[in-house]
């Protein structure tokens, strides 16, 4: 692997000092910001995540804030998910689509109030699309990126650690809900969510200045829980089938191809820009779709480009994320497969970096 060159353009986060002190060994870049990917090793980080608790610098999940009388209308223009029943205090996973139904992002929308929303984005400059739409449609709304940086606490001991810092009431926050909790006199949004299947929270740290104080408080409070700095884990998230925008889907894909059809209320999401295109897709169904893929044989390296999935001489899909799973003893992978070959149990051949390997379409992911 090559090194990453530092520059202001690859933005540091309010937690970067803590991440460096904890001995980060590799990064990726996400929304033009540093996102740690490895501390001790991907495998060691993986076992620790599944058994203890980790604090993750996910400041790169930037927020796009919508504020003003047209905020809710704009939010509905962006997504085919029907938001009419959504109450303040709720988080919704929302596919964001363009006028052709192509995925532009798959963020979590946080409804703070009727006229104030955060869109907690995956890796694309979604703010530019939102600002362009707001401008073009002359909407009465302010769109900007506030000084809000999510810090995730993930792992089976996350509840215990969070309760020590925020009080026992944090245990009562339900999945994809959020509450307001105080830290050093500051009111923070804390949601039960996160990019792992180990359970945990995301703290929307408003104000960079309290980033490191909160980091230290969590590390201090969790010493006997073996709390460590961690990060989204390249093995665990594939086992769990957590898709990654830019890896497992791009603007070439519709939500239905990504298995997100259940978040598309195409009949009722009036105002959604991509609705016409998605009505068509919803009627005919997608011709390819995301699937869990098991790859036989030796451990595969990191998937740095699409790996074709073949049925004989014909390409019928591609793998976009893959990892050797120590717990399951197989290569776990996420792929996109054409409908002729997407049934569980279908044998395929992976054209990987080390030649051909046998692969099979699974019923579901591992977790």
């Amino acid at each position: 692997m090559a090194l990453i060159s530092p520059s202001r353009r690859l933005r540091r986060t309010p937690f970067s000092d803590g991440v460096e002190a904890a001995g980060v060994s590799a990064y990726t870049v996400y929304n033009r910001m540093l996102l740690p990917t490895v501390f001790r090793s991907v495998e060691e980080d993986y076992h620790h995540l599944k058994s203890a608790v980790q604090v993750w610098d996910v400041a790169c999940e930037r927020q796009v804030e919508l504020r003003g009388p047209d905020a809710a209308r704009l939010m509905q223009m962006l997504t085919p998910r029907d938001l009419r029943g959504m109450l303040p205090g709720r988080c919704f996973y929302v596919p964001i689509v363009d006028e052709t139904g192509g995925m532009l992002n798959d963020p979590v929308a946080v409804k703070l109030a009727e006229d104030r929303w955060w869109i907690s984005i995956a890796d694309s400059d979604l703010m530019l699309w939102v600002k362009g739409i707001a401008n073009g449609y002359r909407l009465d709304v302010l769109v900007d990126e506030p000084d809000v940086s999510p810090l995730a606490v993930q792992g089976p001991k996350a509840d215990e650690l969070m309760a020590r810092v925020f009080g026992d009431a944090v245990r009562d926050v339900r999945f994809f809900r959020f509450g307001h909790f105080e830290f050093q006199g500051r009111d923070l949004v804390v949601a039960r969510s996160g990019y792992s299947k180990q359970g945990g929270f995301e703290i929307y740290v408003e104000g960079s200045d309290i980033g490191m104080p909160l980091w230290h408080a969590l590390m201090e409070a969790g010493r006997d829980l073996d709390v460590r700095a961690g990060c989204p884990n390249g093995i665990e998230r594939v086992e769990a089938g957590l898709l990654s925008y830019g890896n497992d889907m791009t603007d070439d894909n519709t939500p239905h191809e990504c298995g997100l059809g259940r978040f598309c209320d195409t009949q009722t999401a009036i105002g959604c820009i991509g609705r016409d295109a998605l009505l068509r897709v919803a009627k005919e169904g997608p011709v390819q779709q995301v699937r869990a893929i098991e790859i036989a044989g030796d451990p595969v390296p990191r998937c740095d480009r699409v790996w074709p999935l073949m049925a004989g001489a014909r390409q019928v899909g591609q793998v976009t994320s893959a990892a050797w799973s120590p717990d399951f003893g197989v290569n776990v992978a996420i792929g996109m497969v054409r409908m002729t070959h997407w049934d569980p149990g279908t044998p395929l051949q992976l054209h990987g970096p080390d030649g051909m390997q046998e692969a099979i379409v699974r019923e579901g992911f591992w977790l």
Copy 2:
């Protein structure tokens, strides 16, 4: 420095195989794509760039293509530069601004025909803004990212190398003009441009499949010219005062603050979305502006965050890019300085990573 983790999300380019074979040692990420930053060392690459010729994988300068009857109208909506006199065959450096006059990108616009343009972008997902505007204003235009990857040939021997591959006619291409040249039966746009002051060309490689054949042809033809794989150089570009979007300017800055006022024809660029805001700026002038900054003392490390520029206890600016220059024997830097302290010769103190260092505002850049 930490490592960079491979993933499909950090897109490879049509030239990545060549870059790896040439022994790339560090990358940055630019438009969610790999951009090499170091081969042998930044210093060795620097001396070689100034004395020989290099081939640069700058595929990360993605193109936003505008096609259709409203292409020219949309292009003018994006920029305060008056494009009415621009003929096909020309390249214009165009600040792109939002409705407040904030910089969204500083690309080169390539006018292929009245109804067909490429915007060769710096590091932001400009396509999302352009698509949002096109959709909101109901423009009759197609906006997408074509399979076009620039390959730059830079250095004093660039003309000689290019003539060997494309024929002597390429020598006649004037600065910021382009011509059509053939390679292996394919018609390619070749412009005299590039992100160095050493002279050279950018080849808009249309069709990923001819990326490596062209790479090899250039390497083969230039063997006796000591051609090497190279990349935009962190020292040379600061000496030359070539700004970097995301480093030296962001959407907080107007073009006037970036010293790009000469590209703002605010009176005549009718239709530009940010025109009203920029009329105000043009009238009052900016209160801070980009300046060349010389930093005394020991070589500074890479600038990975803003470094405050102080006048006594008061912050009057910031440095955003800096490097030790072997040729000039000083630290060269790019900063943004308030008007009270921006006159040439003004002494300032840099609050850098190693404490305070003396700095001075220069009349201009080094090249």
